[in-house]
C-alpha cells in the first residue's frame, strides 16, 4: 500500500523530505530550550526510579508522564495538607519528595518541607528531633539548586540557619546568595535578615554596612514605587534606627566591658531515672540595669550622622532573659549534609537539645536601694523592676541590714547610683522619651524628692530600703529531660555521649550584650570560658574561618550506662 502510494504521487512524497528535515531541525533547537529547569526539570525522571526516598503511587505515574505533572503535584500537595491536619507527619515527607521532583520550581513546597522537617518532628515535650536538620537543609539546598535565580529559597535557608540551626555565618551566606542572584530580593526579608545574621556572626562592621545599604535601598524603592512607599518608608526608618543603635553600641561597648563579669558557672547533672536527667546550675549574667541606664546620647535617627554618643551602660546588674542551652549527643557527632536530599535519618544517632531560662539573678551593694518581696511575691512590681531596683525575699533582706529609703534620703547616706535609681522610681521618664536623665536632672529631681512627702511615703509603701551590705544572688537555671517516651528519637545506641552546656553571648539579648559583649569580651570564668571559632562544634564550616567568640561551654562526657541505668545518681557536679 505504502509503496504504491508513494509511486503514484512522487512529488508529494518528495515534499516529505524537507519537512521531515525541518522537524528534526526544529526538535534539535527546541531540546535545549525545553531542558531548562523552568520548563522541564531533570528531576522528574526520579519519580520513575524512586531510588532516593520515595516512589510515586501507581495511580499517579500515568498522569505524571502524560504531561500532567503539575496536576499530579497539586493533588499530592492537597493530600499533604490533609495529612498535616491529621498529624500524620511521616506520610508528608515522601509526598514532598515526589512534589519537588514533579515540580522543582514550586518553592512553597520546598519552604514548607524544610520548615516541616526542621520544626515539626518533636518528642513528647516538643523538643525538635535535631537529626532532621540534615534532610531539612539538604531539601532547601536542592530548592536553591533548582531555583538559583529566585531569592525565596536562599531566604528560607537563611532563616532556618538563623533561627533553628543557629549557624549565623551560613545564614549570612544564604542571604548574600539571595542578593547576588535576584535583583528583586525583598529588602526587608533579605537585607534586614542579613544584617542581623552578620551581627550574630560577630561581623559588626559588615552589619553596619548592610544596614546602611538596606536604608538606601528602602529610600530608593520608596521613591520609585507608589504601592509600597509606606512599607519602604517604615523599612528605611527601621534600618536607620538599627544602624544608629549598632553604631552607638560599637562605640560604647569597649568601654562598658572593661571589667569582665565573672560568671562563676556551677552545673549539676542528676539522673532521676533511666533516660531521665535534670540539668541545673547557677551563672552570673549581667546586663544593662534597664532602659533608664543605657545612655545612647543624642543621635540622628536616620543613622547617617551621630551627633553625640553617650556613655552606654550607666549601671549594670544581673538580668533575666538570657538562656543556658544544652545538647546531649553521640560523642564526636558532626552534622554532615549529604550531596543529595535524603529523607532518611540515621536511627543510630541520639541528639537531645534544649534550653533553660536563666533567672533570679539579683544584686545590691551598700548604699543602693532594694525592695522586700511579700511572701506570695516572686518578683517586684513592674515599675520598681523598670527602675532597676531588685526585690529580695524577707530572708535575704534580713542579711542586708537596710534602712528605710525615706530615712536614707533625708540623711543623704546613699550612693550616686542610688540617687538615680530613686529618681527613676519616683519620677519615671515619660514612656517612649529617648535618652536618660542627666546628672543635673538627677540632682534636681533628688532635691525635689527630699521635699516631697508624698513620694517619700510611696517609697515606704513600696518597701524600699537602702542596703548596708553587699549581696549577689546568681541567676539559676533548671530543666528536667525525660527521654523515655521517644525511644526512636533517643535510641542510645552508642556507648559514649557528650552533654554540652553553653551560654553564647551572640545569642543573648541586647541588654546583656551591652555588658558582656558581642563576642563575650565582657565575660570571664575560671573553669568554663572558651575562646573559639566553633561555637557549635557539631556544625561543619566549609567557608572562611569564623570570628572568634568568648563563651561559656561546659562539656561533660557521659556513658550509655550512666544515662540508662535505673535509679537516681549525680552524673556531674562542678
Amino acid at each position: 500500500m505504502w509503496k504504491e502510494a508513494f509511486r503514484k504521487n512522487p512529488k508529494l512524497a518528495l515534499a516529505l523530505i524537507p519537512l521531515i528535515a525541518g522537524v528534526v531541525l526544529l526538535q534539535s533547537r527546541i531540546d535545549p530550550l525545553r531542558s531548562q529547569p523552568a520548563i522541564e526539570p531533570p528531576s522528574i525522571k526520579n519519580v520513575l526510579t524512586g531510588t532516593k526516598g520515595g516512589q510515586l503511587p501507581g495511580e499517579f505515574i500515568l498522569g505524571a508522564f502524560s504531561g500532567f505533572r503539575q496536576v499530579i503535584a497539586g493533588l499530592l500537595w492537597v493530600r499533604c495538607d490533609s495529612f498535616f491536619h491529621q498529624g500524620n507527619y511521616d506520610a508528608i515527607l515522601p509526598l514532598i519528595r515526589m512534589i519537588t521532583w514533579l515540580d522543582p520550581n514550586w518553592m512553597d513546597v520546598y519552604a514548607t518541607g524544610g520548615w516541616h522537617l526542621m520544626y515539626n518532628f518533636t518528642d513528647t515535650d516538643q523538643r525538635s528531633d535535631r537529626r532532621y536538620l540534615v534532610p531539612g537543609l539538604s531539601l532547601l539546598n536542592e530548592g536553591i539548586a533548582n531555583n538559583p535565580k529566585v531569592y525565596d529559597m536562599y531566604k528560607e535557608k537563611g532563616w532556618n540557619c538563623f533561627d533553628k540551626v543557629k549557624d549565623f555565618s551560613e545564614a549570612a551566606v544564604a542571604y548574600r546568595g539571595a542578593l547576588a542572584n535576584d535583583p528583586k530580593a525583598n529588602t526587608t526579608q533579605v537585607m534586614h535578615a542579613l544584617a542581623h545574621s552578620l551581627e550574630r556572626s560577630g561581623d559588626i562592621d559588615e552589619a553596619i554596612a548592610v544596614w546602611g545599604q538596606a536604608r538606601e535601598a528602602h529610600l530608593k524603592e520608596a521613591a520609585s514605587s507608589k504601592d509600597n512607599s509606606q512599607t519602604d518608608s517604615q523599612g528605611a526608618q527601621s534600618a536607620g534606627k538599627n544602624l544608629s543603635l549598632l553604631k552607638i553600641r560599637k562605640a560604647v561597648r569597649p568601654a562598658n566591658m572593661q571589667q569582665p563579669i565573672d560568671t562563676q558557672v556551677r552545673v549539676k547533672v542528676k539522673r532521676l531515672a533511666s533516660r531521665q536527667i535534670e540539668i541545673s546550675g547557677t551563672i552570673n549574667i549581667f546586663g544593662t540595669l534597664g532602659n533608664p541606664y543605657f545612655d545612647a546620647g543624642t543621635f540622628d535617627k536616620t543613622g547617617t550622622e551621630i551627633a553625640t554618643i553617650g556613655k552606654g551602660v550607666i549601671a549594670d546588674g544581673p538580668r533575666d532573659g538570657a538562656r543556658m542551652e544544652f545538647r546531649l549527643e553521640d560523642e564526636g557527632y558532626k552534622m554532615v549534609l549529604p550531596t543529595n536530599f535524603d529523607l532518611q535519618v540515621d536511627p543510630s544517632v541520639t541528639i537531645m537539645q534544649d534550653q533553660a531560662s536563666i533567672k533570679g539573678g539579683r544584686r545590691v551593694r551598700k548604699g543602693e536601694p532594694y525592695t522586700v518581696l511579700q511572701k506570695n511575691q516572686n518578683m517586684a512590681d513592674q515599675r520598681i523592676t523598670d527602675s532597676g531596683v531588685y526585690g529580695f525575699s524577707e530572708a535575704q533582706a534580713a542579711t542586708l541590714g537596710g534602712i528605710p529609703a525615706a530615712q536614707a534620703v533625708a540623711s543623704g547616706a546613699i550612693t550616686a547610683l542610688a540617687k538615680r535609681m530613686l529618681v527613676n522610681l519616683s519620677y519615671p521618664r515619660a514612656y517612649g522619651k529617648p535618652g536618660v536623665y542627666s546628672e543635673a536632672e538627677v540632682n534636681q529631681f533628688f532635691v525635689q524628692l527630699r521635699g516631697d512627702s508624698l513620694k517619700l511615703g510611696d517609697l515606704g509603701k513600696q518597701n524600699i530600703f537602702i542596703a548596708q551590705k553587699d549581696l549577689l544572688v546568681p541567676g539559676n537555671f533548671t530543666r528536667k529531660i525525660d527521654m523515655t517516651q521517644d525511644p526512636q528519637m533517643y535510641g542510645f545506641v552508642k556507648d559514649k555521649y557528650e552533654l554540652v552546656l553553653w551560654f553564647n553571648p551572640r545569642t543573648a539579648p541586647d541588654f546583656v550584650q551591652d555588658r558582656m559583649g558581642w563576642n563575650g569580651e565582657g565575660i570571664t570564668d575560671k573553669k568554663y570560658l572558651v575562646e573559639t571559632t566553633e561555637p557549635y562544634p557539631w556544625i561543619e564550616h566549609k567557608g572562611a574561618a569564623l570570628k572568634p567568640v568568648r563563651m561559656i561551654r561546659v562539656t561533660i562526657k557521659l556513658t550509655k550506662e550512666q544515662l540508662t541505668a535505673p535509679g537516681e545518681a549525680i552524673l556531674f557536679e562542678g
Binding site: R29, P37, S66, V71, M107
Partner: protein, 262 residues
C-alpha cells in the same frame, strides 16, 4: 479550497450536533468549583493549585475531545457510506481529508477557546484582592500550547484513521501521545544509551516520534518567579513544529487515503 471549506464547516456543525460542547460546559463548571476548592491554602499556593488544575483540566478534556473526534471522522463516513455521496461530487480525496482535518481543528479550537476563556474569567474573579495576583491573560500562553499539541494529536489520529480501525487507532494514538510526552527520556537515552545501536535507535525515536512533551509550558505560568530563557523563541518554535509535523502526517494521510479502497 471551497470544497475543503464546506467539508470543514459541515464537520464542525456535525460535531456540535454530537453535543461535544457538553464537555465544555462540564469543564467550565469544574473551573468554577475549582476556584473555591483550595481555600485552606495560602493565597500564593491556592493560586498555584487553581492554575495548575485549570490548565490540566483543559488539557485532559482537549485530549479526549480530540482523540474521540478524530479517530471517527473518516471511518464513520465510510461506515455510513456517506463518503460515496461526497466523493461522487467534484471533490478530491485530499480535499475531503483536509476538510475533515480542519473541521476537527475548528471544533477543538472552539472548545479549547471557550474553556480557556472560562478559565481566565474564573482566575480573574478568584484573584480579586489576592496579593499574589498575576495577569490572568498570561494563561492564554498555556492554552495556546495545549491547542498546538492537539493540532499535532489530531493529525496523528487522522493519519492512523486512514488505515486502522477506530479502536486500534484510539489506543495507538494515546500510546504515541504518552511516548511523545516522554521525549526527555528518549533524549537522555539517545545521549547515554549503552552502545551505538541503542543510541541510534533512541535518536531516531526522539526525532521522529511526535514530541508532545515539547508543549509543556505550564511550569512558568504556575511559578511566575522562575525565569525562562528565550520564551518567545520556545513558543514560536513549538508552534512551527506542530504545523510542520502535522503537515508531514497529513501528506502521508493523503498519500494513503488516495490509494485506499472505500
Amino acid at each position: 479550497m471551497n470544497a475543503i471549506n464546506v467539508i470543514a464547516r459541515s464537520t464542525i456543525s456535525e460535531a456540535m450536533r454530537k453535543k461535544i460542547l457538553n464537555a465544555f460546559l462540564m469543564v467550565g463548571f469544574a473551573m468554577i468549583v475549582l476556584t473555591f476548592a483550595f481555600q485552606q491554602f495560602s493565597a500564593r499556593q491556592e493560586l498555584t493549585l487553581v492554575k495548575g488544575m485549570g490548565l490540566g483540566i483543559i488539557s485532559l478534556a482537549g485530549i479526549f475531545i480530540t482523540v474521540i473526534l478524530s479517530i471517527n471522522l473518516i471511518p464513520q463516513e465510510i461506515e455510513r457510506r456517506t463518503i460515496y455521496t461526497i466523493l461522487a461530487k467534484p471533490v478530491r480525496r485530499y480535499e475531503f481529508l483536509l476538510g475533515k482535518y480542519f473541521g476537527a481543528l475548528g471544533t477543538i479550537a472552539l472548545n479549547i477557546g471557550l474553556m480557556g476563556i472560562a478559565f481566565v474569567i474564573a482566575l480573574a474573579v478568584k484573584q480579586i484582592g489576592n496579593p499574589a495576583a498575576v495577569n490572568p491573560l498570561l494563561m492564554l500562553k498555556g492554552v495556546l500550547m495545549i491547542y498546538m499539541q492537539l493540532v499535532l494529536l489530531c493529525s496523528l489520529a487522522i493519519f492512523f484513521s486512514c488505515f486502522l480501525s477506530p479502536l486500534v487507532n484510539f489506543f495507538l494514538t494515546l500510546a504515541l501521545f504518552m511516548i511523545g510526552n516522554l521525549s526527555s527520556f528518549t533524549q537522555d537515552l539517545a545521549k547515554t544509551g549503552g552502545n551505538a545501536l541503542v543510541k541510534g535507535f533512541f535518536t531516531v525515536v526522539h526525532y521522529l516520534v511526535p514530541n508532545f512533551g515539547n508543549f509543556q509550558f505550564t511550569n512558568p505560568l504556575l511559578q511566575p518567579d522562575v525565569q525562562v530563557k528565550s520564551e518567545a523563541a520556545f513558543l514560536t518554535q513549538n508552534c512551527i513544529y506542530a504545523v510542520v509535523y502535522a503537515s508531514v502526517l497529513l501528506i502521508l494521510s493523503v498519500l494513503i487515503f488516495d490509494r485506499r479502497e472505500v
